[in-house]
């Protein structure tokens, strides 16, 4: 059991680390790479949990994560970056240092909230849950501190990795594979949406500060 334990923790830790570095990264290409690493480790974690819990469902989740999230999504994101020429740094709504401090605070909140509320559960689940909640919150923080559509999407992708991490840690939870597929549909629509709708045509350079237009016009 101890190997299950330490390996699951290690992989959870790497995922959290990737989420944290996403927060500090300002170049889209590097953000996509970080996301890819996160998704790869997540699929490994899913396989490992599948092996530890003896669940075929989790192997399936790992496979889906590997193929779509670690390979196809990053490729298409890179394609968008190339095609729309978005190689330069992303604008942030607040200084990176501030958002990192906020990120640390959020991890603290996640740990402080989850650990005391789950004394009855297996400690693997507890700590996995704390890590997963941290990843979710960091992803949301990233979505609020970035201005560009693509950076927000990567934040959402990271949030979603946190959700899948929580799901695979739940003992014997049904529908884990279905959940991850359903989330993927949402993500696919996001990515395809940016690609097809060419938001760029309407808000030059995928900058979403144009969203305030609605407010100015007086709703």
């Amino acid at each position: 059991m101890s190997l299950t334990f330490s390996l699951a923790h290690l992989m959870g830790g790497v995922i959290l680390l990737a989420a944290f570095s996403l927060l500090s990264q300002r170049r889209l290409a590097a953000m996509i790479t970080l996301y890819q690493v996160q998704a790869l480790v997540l699929s490994a974690a899913a396989f490992w949990q599948g092996y530890a819990q003896g669940e075929v469902n989790l192997y399936l989740t790992g496979l889906i994560t590997l193929i779509i999230k670690a390979i196809i999504l990053p490729l298409s994101l890179r394609e968008i970056v190339l095609r729309f020429n978005l190689m330069r740094a992303v604008e942030t709504a607040m200084p990176v240092a501030v958002s990192m401090i906020l990120g640390v605070a959020l991890i603290g909140v996640a740990v402080l909230v989850v650990l005391p509320t789950t004394p009855g559960n297996v400690s693997l689940t507890r700590e996995d849950l704390a890590i997963a909640l941290s990843v979710v919150l960091l992803g949301l923080l990233m979505m609020t501190t970035r201005r560009g559509a693509l950076a927000q999407i990567i934040g959402f992708l990271s949030t979603e990795n946190g959700l899948v991490l929580a799901a695979i840690g739940m003992p014997g939870m049904p529908f884990v594979a279905e959940f991850s597929v359903a989330l993927l549909v949402l993500l696919a629509f996001l990515v395809v949406g940016v690609f097809l709708f060419r938001i760029r045509e309407h808000f030059d350079s995928l900058d979403l500060s144009g969203l305030e237009q609605i407010e100015r016009r007086g709703r």
Partner: protein, 484 residues
């Protein structure tokens, strides 16, 4: 036999056909025909609520029937809408539009009938994606902005709701163990006292914010006015308003788990204060926002936020009577609001165009000079929204206010004040909209037959409020007693 499955499956089955065949007008007629059958099937579902994942309880069945009805009348009004607006979008977009109509309808029903918290979440997600695509259909800059806002906020809501769903599963582990049982509403409700209370509280916070986003409760409402105002009218207003109910009922069911656990000292916090606070904030936010809106669809979008808030408030007060009031409020609001938007679209059509941007109050004013029946229908709907006496909402708001005075006297003052502010803001727009002199280019126009459906809605809302059939009364009060 699982008859609850039929309407959901039928809506899904119609998708490939609506998506590939026919002109926009044919698509609209086919959409209305499918919606009619779905409506009849939702009635049939009472005789076979199903089992397993899609096991409708009485609450789901009643709301399912109202959803089916509103979906059908919306689809009928939609035929007239498409006839006038067919040139604005290409054939393929109209097909996509009708596909989205059926997906939203099917997902809403699936969410209402689901006994499984995972299925409920998936239905909510499907409805969100379909509604976002629908909002983006006009492809104007402002529609894309609105869709993007909806997608990001809705996506975050969906993510938080999934996290909450998983936490509920985890909280149910001590009572129900691994497997499907820990995801079934019926089993969870039975086992609520034995669930892990503190974990359940944490789960409820996530669920409240997740589904609260979809229910457009106050700090999370940002997407709704834009989505209502920018998308193709019937779909984004009448139809997607139905999904608000799914989210609110989900919140009600989860808060029942929390309440039951709290009542038996399982360690959970009471859900009441959360819901009361969010409800009051929503009502006040609406009260102050309403007076500044010039676009009527945005205006009535804000009014939906108010009524979501009233229902959440009622659920927070708790007790069988208040929950009955909240449920009645939701039913009546669904009927009135979907009728209102149908009438509004009709009114905009009378003034020349139903495209987004043609719904300003100044543009629609003096409707009685253009068409009396439409003016009467729209005026009736708007007046009904205020909750003043002959309106059905008066009955539900009366129940809620009187229960508040009994159970939480301190909260009754802000509630009354908020309702009053909203009613005044709505009334202020009513007179000019109907009776003021019309803009000089407007000419009298003949009545479209679909306008009479609006009056049917209003009559139904009146009947439900003041002469509810005893069967329905029995059903709803049993549901409310079970959930209190």
């Amino acid at each position: 036999m699982n008859l609850a499955l039929l309407p959901v499956v039928l809506a899904g089955l119609s998708v490939p056909f609506l998506g590939t065949l026919g002109t926009p007008q044919q698509g609209a007629v086919a959409n209305a025909a499918v919606s009619l059958v779905v409506f009849l099937l939702t009635l049939l579902a009472f005789w076979g609520p199903g089992a397993g994942l899609l096991h409708a309880d009485e609450l789901g069945l009643v709301f399912g029937a109202v959803t089916g009805f509103a979906g059908f009348t919306t689809a009928v009004a939609n035929i007239f809408y498409v006839r006038g607006a067919a040139v604005r979008l290409g054939v393929r977009r109209w097909r996509l539009y009708h596909v989205m109509c059926q997906i939203i309808l099917g997902a809403t029903l699936a969410g209402l009938y689901a006994d499984n918290i995972g299925l409920l979440w998936a239905a909510m997600e499907a409805a969100t994606i379909a509604a976002t695509l629908a909002v983006s259909l006009p492809r104007t800059a402002s529609a894309l902005e609105a869709a993007w806002k909806y997608f990001i906020l809705g996506g975050i809501g969906i993510a938080l709701a999934l996290f909450g769903t998983m936490l509920v599963y985890l909280a149910a582990q001590p009572a129900l163990g691994p497997g499907l049982a820990a995801m079934s509403f019926a089993q969870l409700a039975n086992a609520a006292p034995r669930m892990d209370g503190s974990l359940l509280t944490l789960a409820f916070v996530f669920l409240l914010f997740g589904y609260g986003t979809k229910a457009a409760l106050a700090p999370l409402h940002g997407w709704l006015p834009d989505a209502y105002a920018e998308g193709p009218a019937p779909l984004t207003t009448s139809l997607s308003g139905l999904t608000l109910n799914v989210a609110l009922l989900a919140i009600l069911r989860f808060s029942h788990l929390l309440g039951a656990n709290h009542a038996s000292h399982g360690g959970a916090m009471a859900p009441g204060p959360f819901l009361i606070l969010l409800g009051l904030v929503s009502i006040f936010l609406t009260g102050f926002s309403l007076s500044r809106r010039r676009d009527s669809r945005r205006f009535f979008g804000f009014s939906s936020i108010e009524h979501s808030g009233v229902a959440a408030f009622a659920f927070g007060i708790g007790g069988p009577v208040a929950i009955f009031g909240g449920l009645l409020h939701l039913l009546l609001h669904t009927l009135i609001k979907s009728a209102l938007f149908q009438a509004l679209i009709r009114a905009a059509a009378l003034r020349g165009s139903t495209a987004p941007g043609h719904y300003a109050f100044s543009h629609l004013r003096g409707l009685a000079h253009t068409n009396k029946i439409t003016a009467l229908a729209l005026g009736g709907c708007i007046f009904a929204l205020t909750g003043l006496p002959p309106s059905g909402l008066f009955a539900s708001e009366f129940i809620i206010v009187s229960q508040t005075i009994q159970r939480e006297p301190l909260a009754s003052l802000p509630l009354g004040l908020g309702l009053l502010i909203c009613a005044v803001a709505i009334l202020r727009n009513l007179g000019p909209l109907i009776l003021a002199p019309a803009p000089h280019h407007a000419k009298p126009v003949k009545t479209a037959r679909s306008t009479y459906l609006v009056l049917v809605h209003l009559a139904l809302a009146f009947l439900l409020a003041f002469a509810m059939p005893p069967v329905l009364y029995g059903l709803l009060s049993a549901v409310a007693a079970g959930l209190s």
